[in-house]
């Protein structure tokens, strides 16, 4: 366990450094070190590239990835479904709809409102799904089914809005939705980091509740868990994490699904290990996706969300294939 986590940490740090060094203007290790230790002889142009452009961007990717992955681990435990991810709670669809409404209906609204609208949309969607699935308590299956239904509805609403929108506005919304970390800056990194600290810690401390809730309502209840309360709190954590990630970076798909699975392969099913391992893997995935996206067809850039989808879709197929003999 310690070895695996250390290896993951090393991978994350290496990706961090590679992410800073690579790009349109290569930065040598020497340059990098002199900038990082803030030596007086550092080239001001390189300093600007490293400190103001690339560093916030890789850190932003790191935070977004960790949040998505932990939210995914929570969703899979609460829904007791290995194919679950935060999107099942309607987070993506809600954020997309809210963003589209903001851009199309209030075209004078400042672009800085976009993340907040996204988060509000995501939260409203989760709340609606949760309330609709409540009938003397909820069940995971009801949440999943209502989640799928409402997400489809919100998706339809989003698409219809694009018909009425100014083409330039719609394109702006689409770019935001594609999921990227281009626009990262230090203040964004700070806000996101502050926002995520508490939910990430709480998720880690809830490992025992997550371990138990996977056993099903009846077993968990008979072992003394207040299942409905635990589930509501976990869904809240999941919303805080993935809602913030979506608001910050748009829809970066598949990380929430794939990272917990990779983590489970490495450290097993216990959440005390699974949560930190998922966070590191998610961070690495989004950093790597952004790195690939901005170098593979440079100087043009692919949004990170597109790259994760390209990697994630085959992985999803592989998961299904691997489970073809498991009884449903």
């Amino acid at each position: 366990m310690i070895r695996t986590v250390s290896a993951l940490l090393v991978a994350v740090v290496l990706l961090l450094l590679t992410g800073i060094a690579h790009g349109d203007h290569p930065v040598t290790i020497g340059d990098l070190v002199s900038v990082l230790i803030r030596s007086a002889g550092a080239n001001p142009q390189i300093e600007m590239i490293v400190l103001d452009l690339r560093m916030p961007r890789v850190l932003f990717a790191l935070l977004v990835g960790a949040a998505l992955a932990v939210a995914g681990a929570i969703a899979q435990a609460v829904m007791r479904n290995p194919l679950a991810e935060p999107g099942i709670l309607g987070i993506n669809a809600g954020a997309a709809l809210a963003a589209m409404i903001l851009i199309v209906a209030f075209d004078t609204a400042p672009i800085t409102l976009l993340p907040w609208a996204g988060f509000a949309g995501a939260s409203a969607m989760v709340a609606t799904i949760y309330i609709l699935s409540w009938r003397n308590g909820t069940t995971s299956l009801r949440i999943i089914l209502i989640g799928i239904g409402l997400s489809a509805l919100a998706g339809a609403a989003t698409t219809s809005l694009t018909v009425f929108g100014e083409i330039r506005d719609v394109q702006r919304a689409m770019i935001w939705l594609a999921g990227s970390v281009y626009h990262a800056n230090w203040s964004g990194v700070q806000v996101l980091a502050l926002w995520l600290v508490a939910p990430l810690l709480l998720a880690f401390m809830s490992a025992r509740e997550l371990d138990l809730i996977r056993f099903g309502d009846s077993a968990a209840q008979s072992l003394g868990q207040r299942v409905n309360l635990a589930r509501a709190l976990m869904i809240l954590l999941c919303t805080l994490l993935s809602g913030a990630a979506v608001a910050a970076a748009g829809l970066i798909s598949f990380v929430g699904l794939v990272a917990p699975h990779m983590a489970r392969r490495l450290v097993g099913p216990s959440h005390a290990k699974l949560i930190p391992a998922s966070a590191l893997i998610g961070a690495a995935l989004v950093m790597a996706a952004d790195l690939v996206g901005r170098t593979i067809i440079a100087p043009a850039q692919l949004p990170a969300g597109l790259v994760t989808a390209l990697i994630g879709a085959p992985f999803f197929a592989y998961l299904l294939w691997g489970r073809r003999h498991v009884a449903a």
Binding site: S218, A219, L223, G224, V326
Partner: protein, 273 residues
């Protein structure tokens, strides 16, 4: 409040939605004995078991644990005193036997309390008692049905409760594993002083192993008492609607039920009964 010991159902009625499943049930579970709940499908056995565990809230009446209503206890407090094994439980993929058994310690741990020596000892004891010690590190998916069932029983034992409620612990097991699980239960009662209530399907196994039988029909108690008094041709006829011969089990001497079907009648068999 009569201050009686153990687990008691007082004037309990239960309903799913508007369908009343159990009406005016009074049932005292004998302490440190093995009680078998018997009855046809849909007679309310599992429902009553879940209610005794405090998992279902009765529409009327109450469940008393050592004289006080179970509804006043917290979920964890209840779980420290009553262990429940549901019917056909499912574990998440990739879990080992030990991972499962450790879950039994949940009600004993405070919110952020660390894993303790007592927790380890309880898991160890539960594994030894069920003979699962050597399989502790094996994934559950790789075990046979009987081993998996013993692993689940080990988990409820790790809870260290004096009362165990088991819902069909032998269903879907082959004969050897059924006997294995029944022996384990009888041993828990005889040597550990546990109070066990189990929903069982096999009448003869129930009569052989249980100290006390509760025969249910349509949510009411049709017969209750020692196997010899409960297992009569008359009760089998009223409860299951099947004619039967009751004879002594050649091994244990307990009552054994031999049913007579219409094909037997057609062949002229069993007419003397």
């Amino acid at each position: 409040m009569n201050g009686s010991k153990g687990l008691v159902a007082e004037d309990v009625s239960l309903a799913y939605g508007r369908t009343v499943v159990v009406e005016d049930l009074d049932l005292a579970v004998p302490a440190q004995a093995f009680t078998a709940l018997i009855g046809p499908n849909g007679s309310g056995k599992s429902t009553i078991l879940r209610t005794l565990a405090g998992l279902l809230v009765p529409k009327k009446g109450s469940i008393l644990l050592d004289g006080s209503p179970i509804s006043r206890l917290s979920a964890k407090e209840t779980a420290r005193r009553i262990g429940v094994l549901s019917q056909g439980p499912l574990a998440p993929e990739g879990l080992t036997v030990l991972d499962l058994v450790r879950q039994g310690r949940y009600p004993h741990r405070s919110l952020f309390g660390r894993w303790s020596v007592e927790d380890d000892a309880a898991c160890e004891a539960a594994l030894t008692l069920t003979g699962m010690g050597e399989l502790a590190d094996r994934p559950l998916d790789s075990l046979s049905g009987g081993q998996r069932q013993r692993a689940w029983i080990a988990m409820t034992l790790a809870q260290e409760t004096s009362i165990l409620l088991l819902d069909e612990p032998t269903t879907f097991l082959d004969l050897a594993h059924q006997i294995e699980v029944m022996d384990l239960i009888a041993d828990l009662v005889a040597t550990r002083g546990k109070t066990v209530v189990a929903v069982l399907h096999d009448l003869n196994q129930a009569a052989r192993y249980a100290d006390h039988m509760v025969m249910l029909k349509d949510g009411t108690i049709a017969a209750v008492g020692r196997p010899e008094t409960v297992m009569t041709a008359a009760t089998i006829q009223t409860v299951f609607g099947v004619a039967a011969v009751i004879m002594a089990d050649p091994v244990a001497g307990t009552p054994m039920c031999v049913p007579i079907g219409s094909s037997d009648r057609a062949k002229g068999r069993g007419c003397q009964y």
